[in-house]
């Protein structure tokens, strides 16, 4: 069985994957795998930009999104005419010649990966370029993967990517659809700031920062670096934290830090 493997820590947002998909599918009829993709409006593979935090503590992540080729695919279950099938290699295909255009699959898909082609009256989505994998000896991966200049997008047999899978997550785990697209370095919430001494107007290096979950009491520690910065990465959504900053005898506490978004707490004065 094959999967997609996406490492967000090396994706630069160059959009090559998205264009490669268009080059392969717009204007090309790959029936029985897929009819032509329209010029615009469909994103069998679409890149989204996510900007988190506030200056100067900001993170930018590009997330390629596509059909998850789920093992428990709601689209397959909901298709009234049996037009959607799961292949032996794991790919999920909407057979354009069987599709009646009822759009039940599009509304069933929790990943928003199915598009409706009004002109052809069919549902369409990523095919994993199965037409290439099946029929062209030189093609072992889909076009988007082949065109990724950074190696952020990979495709292959599960057994060859055990290490990747062990470190990876799903984009929408709550959908529970047994996705075949694995992501590494999906963004988590962060809390960061800069600690300084208001009298000296200098940053404070080596201040001990402790971030404590107000409910579970789980605690994280960090130390300010040479720029006076501290970072707490990988935090959970919608939790309330208390921050304590200690340097020498000085202590400062900030309560009620809520991670509904990523937070840059700005420049924090601590009088030594």
């Amino acid at each position: 069985m094959k999967n997609f493997y996406i490492d967000l820590s090396i994706c630069n947002g160059c959009y090559c994957c998205q264009i490669a998909c268009k080059d392969e599918h717009v204007g090309n009829d790959w029936t029985p795998y897929a009819k032509p993709q329209p010029d615009t409006g469909q994103f069998w593979l679409g890149l989204t930009e996510l900007v988190r935090g506030q200056v100067p503590k900001v993170k930018i992540t590009y997330i390629p999104k596509m059909c998850h080729h789920c093992d428990d695919a709601p689209c397959i279950a909901d298709c009234a005419v049996g037009a959607i099938t799961k292949r032996a290699d794991g790919l999920v295909i909407i057979e354009p010649e069987k599709c009646t255009g009822c759009q039940l699959c599009a509304s069933a898909c929790p990943h928003e990966a199915i598009f409706f082609n009004e002109g052809l009256n069919i549902a369409q989505k990523c095919t994993g370029c199965a037409h290439l994998l099946d029929n062209e000896a030189e093609w072992e991966v889909p076009r988007c993967v082949d065109n990724c200049p950074t190696g952020a997008l990979l495709f292959g047999e599960e057994k060859d990517f055990k290490k990747f899978i062990a470190e990876a997550e799903f984009l929408n785990p709550s959908a529970g659809t047994k996705s075949r697209v694995y992501y590494k370095h999906l963004p988590k919430k962060f809390v960061a700031g800069t600690v300084y001494d208001p009298k000296e107007e200098e940053v404070i290096i080596g201040a001990k920062c402790t971030l404590k979950d107000a409910q579970s009491k789980e605690a994280f520690t960090a130390e300010t670096d040479v720029y006076g910065d501290f970072w707490f990465n990988g935090l959970k959504d919608n939790r309330t934290y208390n921050l304590t900053i200690k340097k020498g005898k000085a202590t400062k506490t900030i309560d009620g830090i809520f991670t509904d978004k990523d937070l840059c707490l700005g420049d924090i004065p601590v009088e030594l």
């Binding site: 630069n12 090559c16 264009i19 490669a20 200056v55 930018i60 006076g228």
Partner: protein, 734 residues
Amino acid sequence: MPERKVVYSTCKSCHGGCGVKVTVEDGVPVHIEGNPDTLTRGTMCSKGLSSIQHIDSPYRLKYPMKRVGAKKEGKWQRISWDEALDTIAAKVKESQEKYGKESISISQGTGRGYNRYIHRLARSLGTANVISPGYVCHSPRLGLYGLVTGYGRLYCDYHGWGGEFPKTQIMWAKQLEISSADSEMCNWFIQSLDHCKNLIIIDPRASAYATRATLWLQPRPGSDCALAMGMMNVIVNEGLWDKEFVENWTYGFEELKERINEWTPEKTEEVTWVPKEKIIAAARMFAIDTPGCIQVGSSLERQANCGHTLRAITCLMGMAGNIERPGSMVSWVLPETGLIEDFFLELPLTPEMQSKIIGIDKFKMGAARTCNPDTMVKAILDGKAPVHVWISIGGQQIVHMANTKEVVAAIEKMDFMVHVDLFMGPMAQASDMVLPSAHWLELDDVYDMHPRFFIAAHNKVVEPPGEAKSDAWIFNEIGKRTAPEHWFKDEKECLDYQVRKGMAGKMKWKDFSKNLVSGCWGKDQVYYKYKTDYWRKGGGFPTATGKFEFVSKRLAELGYDPLPVYREPGESPYRTPELYKEYPLIMSSGFRQPFYFLGQYRNIPWLRSFMEYPMAQMHPETAAKYGVADGDWIWIESPRGKIRQKCRTFPGILRGMLMATANWFYPEEGPEGYHGVFISNPNVLTSNDHLDPMYGSPDLTCLLCKVWKCTEDELQDNVFKTQEFGYVQRTVEK
């Protein structure tokens, strides 16, 4: 079964350079991908990958046409190539006789393959009034590198051919990962990051790499020279400079030390808005963790202190010994085919031609070989310009030059103008005649890269539409009719001539075309050239002193400060505090997208769908202060005029500034407004009054503006008139 073949060529969707493999079925290109067996290892970008849409575009010019109505009416009549070329030749001759040879001006877009053709044509016509965008892109760095090191082309050594990769990389006002002149470098840069200890990004706005970097510095736009001075101050005060290199191979270090003495981290922080801790850290990394390199972006060259900014940055490289060492800044040895510019350099620029260059009296670096375009615009408007005939290829001066209103007014005053292009656009609409040029998939030509260590073949994949012709053919035909002694029997002879030095002097175009590349790389490259007889006997740099020159006597002779000096932008909070009260935002037009190249590709549906409208980025707090929300259409105003773009709140940008999308026009809009060039293009706002003293570069990436939200009434304005293309909503969203 359709007849299938694969053609190997070289992409030119930006400056170009990536090796490509094009599948052709029954004469139609159906598939483009990178060629893995080239120096670019099969990588391509979205611009190149969408090339099939370029050749099929409904905007393509297919036949020579002459204008039959008034300018901006869009009324054209097809003519024959003979009529077109004979008319051009007659207009050129008439103008030369009436007003002198300098009355012919030739303009180009960014340095694509036609660079050498237009320069050869200009020189063969006896004029140096060439309008090149070089003064806002790449030329200043080449000129300043040239002054300091004697050789102009210093590039980052991402290759590891000398056994070392850069340990500290500075990316200064540049996103090489998405927007690269010579996109082939993007791939090498990304590969080199595997060996990089410190990646330092200098950019007022966040990018993917800024947020992954070891260090990210956010300077106030236009203050970069001060930042370089501050970094040098740290290196000097902490004794971190490369002792061996500075002592043996440089000139003027003591004077430079004195000059940078005032640039303490505190003062640098005040001017640049970068925290001093980060300035110190960046300077230490660059000086201690060597080798290192600095990739400069052209945003620095779109500022009116660009000369000294680049001088300061070059001194910074030298101080850390990051010159000619493997993994640092290196000037590459040429391939056996030689320097491609010899194609026009072999025709000398005579003192007579040089003396007639518009702007040479003021901008002694930038207007030494080409004219200063902004000075030319002013001179035309004052009725003092000698220029009467303008031959234009590729570039959209109307779009990329400062102060659009004045540029348009000047162009409209030309006696005769002809524009050569792939597509209909603003410059074409301002012309008396348009000529259709071939896309890179439709021509044979020589690609030359900026770093100059290889040239590659553009091989014709498909016939051009209608009567479109290659740049080489068009310029050769104009040349044959106006200065036949310098031109060639036909296009083939012209191409043979350009590669003739290859294969020990036996190379023909067809050999080169088959080989795909002529280059010098790997073990054939030479490092530490100054330690050998390469530039001068006994070692040294090819400068007047034989050294790397921190102090430039040549600059002093030309009347400039021989040492780097910081100068505020023409409009800034510190230089024009009164103006800042009325226009309280610092504006830059440095926002680039990976799917557009300068003014190009808004007419390519796949690419346009990524960003239908120009976006202006502002920090959410700044936007809120001016009553603007994400997605709002906003007015952006400067003392020169106002435009609208769509606001994008972006937490990764400095507060108090606005980053507008550059070079925006609407190809789908009608000819009456030069394809909507006044609607959203930031150059409606930029000034052509305050120019760099050396290069004449205007402040395109640092000025002042104010913003407010478009009113409901204004949103009902019929801004966009066409209904033709589905991919752009024709009505303005509320």
